[in-house]
């Protein structure tokens, strides 16, 4: 998450890495080249191709795939995906921030224990955890039987296979990715600064909004990226918990590669989607930098 913190001007000694530096970087560069640059290149080429009747890629140039991306259906789906991801991210910040803050304020042993609790879900496969949610939320599931037997409701609630279930699934899946980076920032925050703010007469709200939030901002920003980006592309949760009813952009792309066997169109969707991210990311980065530069100016 280094790249998210404001650029430090004093890294002159790292500016020109010598051969040792390159050697250390080599595995990373090779990895990036093989698994990011090359696949993106293939995707880019495919996105201008056509398909034959069998669904194989035919190398003859067309703009058609991109024209199709910008039709109302796909724009609407993309927009919906962004909304779901934004809602998920907001909920993750809302739920994750207090948790991260609380953990960061504990003693070291307690901190480690609590962090372990946050990470334990990762020991089980993501799909199994999602199926567990299905058993909880389904019509004759755990939650409904509990509510029915306690007399809180008289008729089972329709929870599963609704957008509500999709958001629950998304928040559940990505919450740790919000908690961990915020915890990282919060843990480093010096309590003396908070106390100083109090001593200088700031009330709790002001301390929080003008001291705590700015100092943990890198963690929040990292968390937002880690949650928002994958949440937009997620397709398994909308299939399993949303009953495959409301398509997200991830589902549409997945469909192009399997069901519709239209790889060029899937590639075009992928390219547009990636570009949108890069643009959004650059904008966020810029704002971040500008904000970091303000006090010094």
């Amino acid at each position: 998450m280094q790249s998210l913190s404001p650029g430090s001007p004093d890294n002159t000694h790292a500016r020109r890495p010598r051969w040792l530096g390159w050697l250390l970087l080599a595995p990373m560069l090779a990895w990036l080249l093989l698994f990011v640059v090359v696949p993106m290149g293939i995707l880019f080429v495919y996105s201008f191709c056509q398909r034959d009747d069998l669904g194989r890629v035919v190398f003859s140039f067309t703009w058609e795939n991109y024209e199709r991306v910008f039709t109302p259906i796909y724009l609407a789906i993309l927009w919906r995906s962004v909304l779901f991801a934004a809602l998920t991210t907001a909920l993750c910040v809302g739920i994750g921030y207090p948790v991260a803050w609380y953990i960061a304020r504990q003693t070291e042993t307690m901190r480690n224990r609590l962090l372990l609790l946050v990470m334990i879900p990762f020991w089980t496969s993501f799909l199994i955890r999602t199926y567990a949610w299905i058993t909880i939320l389904k019509g004759e599931g755990l939650l409904n039987s509990l509510l029915l037997s306690s007399g809180a409701i008289v008729k089972p609630l329709e929870l599963l296979y609704t957008p509500f279930a999709v958001v629950i699934g998304l928040v559940y899946a990505y919450l740790p990715f919000m908690i961990l980076p915020i915890y990282g920032s919060a843990e480093k925050l010096d309590n003396a600064i908070v106390e100083a703010a109090h001593d200088l007469g700031a009330g709790p709200v002001r301390v929080f909004s003008e001291v705590v939030i700015p100092l943990t901002r890198p963690g929040i920003a990292a968390g937002i990226l880690l949650v928002f980006v994958p949440a937009i592309g997620m397709f398994a949760i909308s299939d399993l918990m949303g009953g495959a009813k409301v398509p997200m952009i991830g589902n549409v792309i997945q469909n192009q590669f399997f069901t519709a066997r239209n790889w060029p169109f899937g590639a075009a969707l992928g390219i547009v989607f990636t570009l949108l991210f890069v643009i959004a990311y650059t904008l966020v980065q810029r704002r971040q930098k500008r904000r970091a530069n303000v006090p010094q100016a």
């Binding site: 669904g55 259906i73 009953g243 495959a244 009813k245 069901t259």
Partner: protein
Amino acid sequence: MKIARTLLTLAAAGVALASTALAADKELNLFAWSEYVPQKVLDGFTAETGIRVNYETFASGEEMLAKINAGGSAYDVIQPPDYIAEAMIQYGLLQPLDYGKLTHFKNIMPEFLKMPHDPEQKYTVPYMVSTVGIVYNSEKVTKPVKGIKDLFAPENKGRIVSVDDGRELIVAALYTLGLPLNEITPENLAAAKPLLAQWYPMIKKFDSDSPKTALLDGDVDFGYVWGGEAARLWEENKKFKYVLAEEGAHMFFDLLAIPKDATHVDAAHLFIDYILRPEVSAQISAEFPYTNPNSEARKLLTPEQLANPASYPTDKRKLDTFRNLGKASVLIDELTTDLKNAQ
């Protein structure tokens, strides 16, 4: 450069490995539907022949074809659905079978041979057959269910699970309109769309892998499902009734075939012949109660298995199958995305 050379060395090593395997034919790469070939059957084959089976799975015929199109994986036996096999034959992706090596092929009932997907019966062997129809929970459903119009009656909103297959629902709409099932044209799709636009919001869940789960869980009371799924529901509880829609119904074949670039062709024939044995085929039916096309295997089934109305429908209508659509599959995807998006 260095990387390129290393890669080349690796590739050469891979080829060397592959060719030793070829010489021995000690393994077989099977590419089949998930949950369709019992482990017992694979183990039995290995115990008898010493050939290890690598069972890789797919969740839809389209997915299978996409992986084969992508290349790089040499499968020896694949399990395509009928319309995919038709396309593969048309494009020369399957190799002709040596029926001389398939000594049990005679067990397949003639009514399941020389179908439109393989009119000369040169490339494929039927594995299992089934239909697509309506299943309902007769404890919850009091009105008679005869066809698609009863399934999508307004009061059933939110009580239906359907296979997540755009083409199946489009064809259901074509049946309702009295249009032919394989004529997926822009005009016919436009005619079907208003009907589908009413149906889609009524469906509570789309699930191709295991639509029976939503019915078993009591989440829904109706399903538009594969016959095999309905058959398993009936085995579970007799309250689940299966009907072929009166407006129209079709059957589908899952086949066994050998791709053009298979490396273990002998082992592939051995495997297909093993599957055709009555006792093996009956073993498959016991676990996956689809319609068994093997007359000798049917003799080994229990009366209860044979009485399963979803495996062996009493409705003796002549049923059509899906044909390869070619370019029209894009139209189906577009309409389906549109319909789901509009909800």
